[in-house]
Chain length 347, copies 4
C-alpha cells in the first residue's frame, strides 16, 4: 500500500473552503485512507476551531485553523487555495513544483495580461491549466498538471451552456448571458447588502455592463472554443437562495431546434456531469444542490432568430469546490468522479 | 355631494382580486365614501367568506363571495375582472357600455387577431384601450375609456424598461428579455410545481423560446412605439419570492451611456411612478413591494455593443392591480395616483 | 389653521427609522401638511443620502442624513429615537420637556433598576410611559405623555398574546414563550451570522434560557397585569423571512376552550388593531406584513392542561415603528389609527 | 459472493420515497452491488418516469414507476413503504414474513389502540418495532426485525431532544414542544396553502392543542422512557424553508445546567448521529440538511425553573428516509451508518 497523500486547504473558514472539505470527507480516498487532511488554514479566523465556522462539518469540528502561509502549506501533496484574489501567486511560488496546487481564486485564470489589468489590476501572475475538464483538450492538460486554476462559478455555467453551440459554429459570436445566482457566490462576508433582510424577497442585478470580473473569463473560454473573438454581454442577478446558478445564454442563430439539440447531445454524450434534459424539460437549480451535476437545455426561438441555452449548477460545488476536486482527481490519476455526486439534495 | 360610485370585483378570491381590494381599501375615494365596494364574486369559492382566502384583508373578512355572473356584476359603476383568460368577453358584453370595465385578463390586450389565435386560441374578442398610462398617447385614450385591458405583468416591466430606448430609436429592433418573477404571478393555483418545497431554494425558467403568452404583447407594445416590427426573445424565470419582477432587457446599440441616460431621463421626467435611479444604482424588486413604483436603470456595454435596461416592479401591484387602479383613476377623472403608493414595504 | 408639527427621526438609516419614515409618509397628517419631516439623523451614515439606505423611500431619496445630536434634534415637536440601546438618555435629557420624545430603544422600558442592571448594565435611566396602548390604563398615560418608551418587538407580541388570559386570571403565572422572528429584528447589521446564505433555509434559536433582554420586559408586563410575579421562559427563534413574529405562548390552565375564547373576545372587542381570528383559524405572519394589526388566537389543550395563545405581528410595524406612531397619535391627540393599516401586504 | 439483495420502494414519486432513493444511491451496498433497486411504485403517477418527479435523481431518471400493489412489491428482500396513512397494513400482510418491510407511514407506530382510534381512526393494525435506534433497547429489537415502523419526523426530533432528561428523571413529566418545520413535511401535495406564495415570508402554526397526529407518538415515546405517563403539549409551526425541524422542548426541572449537560453527554456519548453541541452553541437546521445528524443542546432557565432542550434534524433524512435506512442497516446486519452522512449541505 502506498502512503496516503496529504491535503491542505487554505481559506478553510470560507464557503469555498468549507465545500472542499465537505466533498473530501465523502471522497472514497478519504474514506479508505489514501487521502488525508493536513493543515486547514485561515486568515483572520486562524486560531479558532473549524466547528465555529462550519457547524455542518461535524467530523472536523475540533480541528484548529492555523494561519495561511506557505510554511503551513508546505509538505502536503495537494494544496487547495480558497483565498481572496491576489493572494495565491506568492504562496504558490513558495511551494514545490511537485505539489499539486489547485487555486479556486482568479489569479491564474486569464490568459491575457491586458484583461487581467483591466478587470483585476495589480501584477499579472500568468495562467495555469484551466479546471474545466469538459472543454476540448482540458482533460489531457489537467492529467499532467501540478498547478490548476479553477474556473469562476458564472464562467462554469455560462461556458458549459454555450460551448456546444459555439464549438459547432451554429451561433454568431455575440453572446448574451443573464445568470441568476444564490448568495453564497458573494462569499461569507459581513456586508449589509448581503444580510438576509436585504436579500430575501428580492432580486437585483449587480456588476452589469461588463463590470463583473467573470465577463472576460467567459469571453476567453468561448473565444478559445470558437477560434475567434466572442463578445459577451453578461448580467449577474442575485436571487434569494443560498446556492445555485441558472445561466440563460443566447446568441443569434439560423439553426433549427433539432440541429441545436443534436449538437448538444453529441457534446454531452460521454460527460459524467453534463445532463442534457429531455426536450421539454428545463433545468432548475434546486435539482443540483450539493452535487457536481450540470443540467443543460437548448431551445431555438425561430421568431427572434436566437438560440437559448440554459445551465443550472451549484455554484459552490461544480462552480467551485466540485470543479476543484474533479480537477484534482484528474491530476492525481484518480477516477474523475470520485467524491462527486450527480444527485442533488432536493427538495 | 355626488352619489358614491360602486365597484364590483370578479375573481376576488385570487391574488389579483385580493390586491385590487387591498388597494381600494386604501384609496382616498373609499375612505371618503365616494367609492364603495359592491359585489365580490368568485368561481369555485362562491359562498365562502373573503377572510378565508385573504386573511390580510381584515376589514372585509366577513364579506361573502357570490358567484361570478353578469347579473351579479350588473348595476355597478366599475367592474374589475380578475378572471382566467377567455372569461371576460361574455361578461363584458352583458354589461352596459357606461359601466367602466377593467379587465386584468388577456382577452382584450392583443390588437392582432392572428397573434391571439397563435398564443391563446379560441375566438378573438377584439382589443380595448391598453392600461399602461406611461405609453405615448395612453392617458388620452384611457381618460375616455369605459373598457380597459390591463397589461400583463411581464409586458408592464419589459415594455417600460425598453420603451424609452425604442421610442428614441437608439436600439436595433431586436430585444432580448430575461425576466425573473416571484411566484404570485402564477396565481393561487394548487399545482405541485408551485408548492413551497419546490420553489424555495431554486430558480427555473419556463415558457421559453416564445412559448410564454406575454411574448406577443411585449412585441406589440414595442412595435407600436417603434413604428416598426420589433422581435422579442423572452425568457421568464421563476424565483423563490412571493412578489416582484426584475426585467433585464437588452438590444444592440451604438449609443453611449450618456445618450442612453438622457433618453431615459426625458421619458421618466414627469411620470409619477417611473423612478430612474441615480447612475450607479440598480433596481431591486424588494424596494417596490406593495407599491405602484417602477424602478428603472439603463446602462450600455460598449464592448458588447448592447444597451441593457432594467425594470423592477411588483407584479401584483404595478404589474396587475395597481395598473388597473391607475387606469380606473384616469377613466373616472380622479387623480392618477390616488390609492397608489410609490413607497414599497422594505425590507 | 395651526402651524405644522415638525418631526425628527434619529437613526433614520436603520430598519426602525426607515419604517417610521414609511409610516409617516402615509400618515394623513403628513399628507395634509399638519405634520412635516425635519431632521433625519444617523451615526456612521451621516452625510449620505437617505436613498442610499432605503431605496424604497422614493419621496425622501434626496434627503441628506445629518449626525445624531441633541442640537440637530432640537426645535422639533416630535423626536423619534431609533438608536442602539444606551444612546437615548443623554439626548432626551437635552431636549425640552415639551418635545414629544418617542424612544424605540430599551433605555426607558424597565421599571426595575435591578432588572436593567442584570440584562443591560450601565446606569439605569428610569422609565417612561410604555407605548402599548392595548394594556390596561395605557391610553390614559400615553395621552398626556411627552416621553414614551416603545415596547420591544417580542414583548409586544408575547404580552398581547397572554394579556387577556393573565388579566382574567385563567392561567397559572408560569408562562412559556417560543417566538419565531424574521431577521429584520436583528437590525441592519453587517454580521456574518445574519447574511442571507446563513439564514435562508435554516431556523435557529438564540438568546435562550432567559439570556434575551426581552425576557424581563415580558415578565414585567404580565406581572403588572396579573398583580403578581409571573415567570417567563422565553426562547426566540430566527426564521428565514425579513419580517414578522409569531409568538406561541402557553401556561397551565383549568379553563375550557370556551371560557378562554370568551376572555379573549372581551379583551379584543374594541381594539382597532387586535384581531381575534374565528375559531379554527390560526394567525400567520404573512397576513400582517407592513400593517399594525395583531392576529390572535387562543386554544386549550385539555390533555396537557395548558392554554396556548398565538400572536402574529410585523416586528417592524406593530413591533416597533407602528407602535411608536400609534403612541405618538395618542400623545398628540390625533386619531389613534392615523397612518396605520390593519391590512397587510400579502401574499 | 452472496446474491445482491433487492429493494423496492413504494411511493417513489413523493418526497419520502425520493429521499430513500437518494440515500440508497449513495449507499456502499448499492455502489458495490450487494444492494440493488427493484420495483419503484406509485399511485397516480404509475406509468410515468421517475425523472419527471425527481429531476435530481439523475441515475434513475429513466426508471418507470409501476403501480403500488403487493404483487409488484413481492419478491424483494427489502420493501420500503412511503405511502399515505392506512395503506400499509394490507400490503404488508401480503408480503412474506421474511421480507424486511420498513414503513414510513403511521400505521404501525402506536402501541395503544385507543390512541390510534382517537388520532387516526379506522381499524388498528397493531404495532411494529419502532425505528428510532437511539432509544433504550431499540437496536436489539431492530436487529432481528422484519417489520419496522419508522417514527414521524416531529417525534424523532422531540423524542431525541427530551429522551436524555426524561430517562434521567430530571424533569417533571409535563413536556411542552414547539417545533418549527420546513414545508416538505407536508408532502408533495397540490394544496393552495402550501404553494410558495403562501408559505414564503410567513410562519404559521397548525394542528395545535393536540390536534396533530404526532402528539400521541411523542407522548408514547417519552412515557415509555419515563416509565410513567408524560403529558405533551405540542405545537407545530410551518416555516419558509423546504427542509428541517427545530424542536424546542421544555419541562419543569430543579436540575442545574451542569447536571443537565452531564445527562445529555452520557446519552449521546456513543451515538453516531447525535451531536451534543459545545456549551454556548445552538442547533440550526441549516447544518443538518441532507444528513442523518441530530444536533442537540440543553440549557436550564433557573428563573423559570425549566429545562429547555433543542434538536435540529432534516425532516426528510433523519426524520424519515434516513431513519428508515438506519433501521434497515440494523435489520440487515450492515454497519448502522452505511449510506448516512453526518455532514449536512451548508450553507
Amino acid at each position: 500500500m502506498t502512503t496516503a497523500r496529504t491535503i491542505a486547504v487554505a481559506g478553510a473558514s470560507g464557503y469555498a473552503g468549507g465545500e472542499i472539505l465537505r466533498l473530501l470527507l465523502g471522497h472514497p480516498g478519504y474514506r479508505d485512507g489514501s487521502l488525508s487532511l493536513g493543515a486547514l488554514t485561515a486568515g483572520g479566523n486562524a486560531g479558532t476551531l473549524l466547528g465555529q465556522h462550519h457547524p455542518h462539518l461535524v467530523p472536523l469540528a475540533h480541528r484548529e485553523l492555523t494561519d495561511t502561509s506557505s510554511e503551513r502549506l508546505a509538505g502536503h501533496d495537494v494544496v487547495f487555495l480558497a483565498l481572496p484574489h491576489g493572494k495565491s501567486a506568492e504562496i504558490a511560488a513558495a511551494l514545490p513544483e511537485s505539489t499539486l496546487v489547485v487555486d479556486c481564486g482568479a489569479d491564474f485564470r486569464l490568459t491575457d495580461a491586458s484583461a487581467w489589468d483591466r478587470w483585476y489590476g495589480g501584477e499579472y501572475a500568468g495562467h495555469w491549466p484551466y479546471g474545466l475538464p469538459e472543454l476540448p483538450g482540458a482533460r489531457a492538460a489537467l492529467s499532467t498538471a501540478t498547478r490548476i486554476a479553477v474556473p469562476g462559478c458564472y464562467p462554469t455555467a455560462s461556458t458549459l451552456a454555450m460551448a456546444p453551440a459555439v464549438a459547432a459554429g451554429i451561433v454568431s459570436p455575440e453572446v448574451s448571458v443573464v445568470a441568476v445566482s444564490g448568495t453564497s457566490g458573494a462569499g461569507k462576508s459581513a456586508r449589509v447588502d448581503l444580510i438576509g433582510s436585504e436579500v430575501m424577497g428580492s432580486v437585483r442585478p449587480y456588476g452589469v455592463a461588463g463590470a463583473h470580473r467573470h465577463t472576460p473569463e467567459i469571453a476567453q473560454n468561448l473565444g478559445a472554443i470558437a477560434g475567434t473573438e466572442v463578445t459577451v454581454s453578461f448580467t449577474p442577478v442575485l436571487a434569494p437562495m443560498p446556492r445555485g446558478i441558472l445561466a440563460t445564454c443566447s446568441a443569434p442563430t439560423t439553426a433549427t431546434a433539432e440541429q441545436a439539440r443534436a449538437v448538444y447531445e453529441k457534446f454531452c454524450a460521454d460527460e459524467p456531469f453534463l445532463h442534457l434534459l429531455p426536450a421539454g424539460s428545463l433545468p432548475q437549480t434546486g435539482s443540483v444542490i450539493g452535487s457536481n451535476a450540470v443540467q443543460l437545455q437548448v431551445v431555438v426561438d425561430a421568431d427572434a432568430g436566437r438560440l437559448i441555452a440554459f445551465a443550472a449548477i451549484d455554484n459552490l460545488t461544480k462552480g467551485t469546490a466540485g470543479g476543484a476536486v474533479q480537477s484534482m482527481n484528474l491530476a492525481l490519476g484518480l477516477p474523475e468522479t470520485d467524491g462527486l455526486d450527480t444527485v442533488g439534495v432536493a427538495p
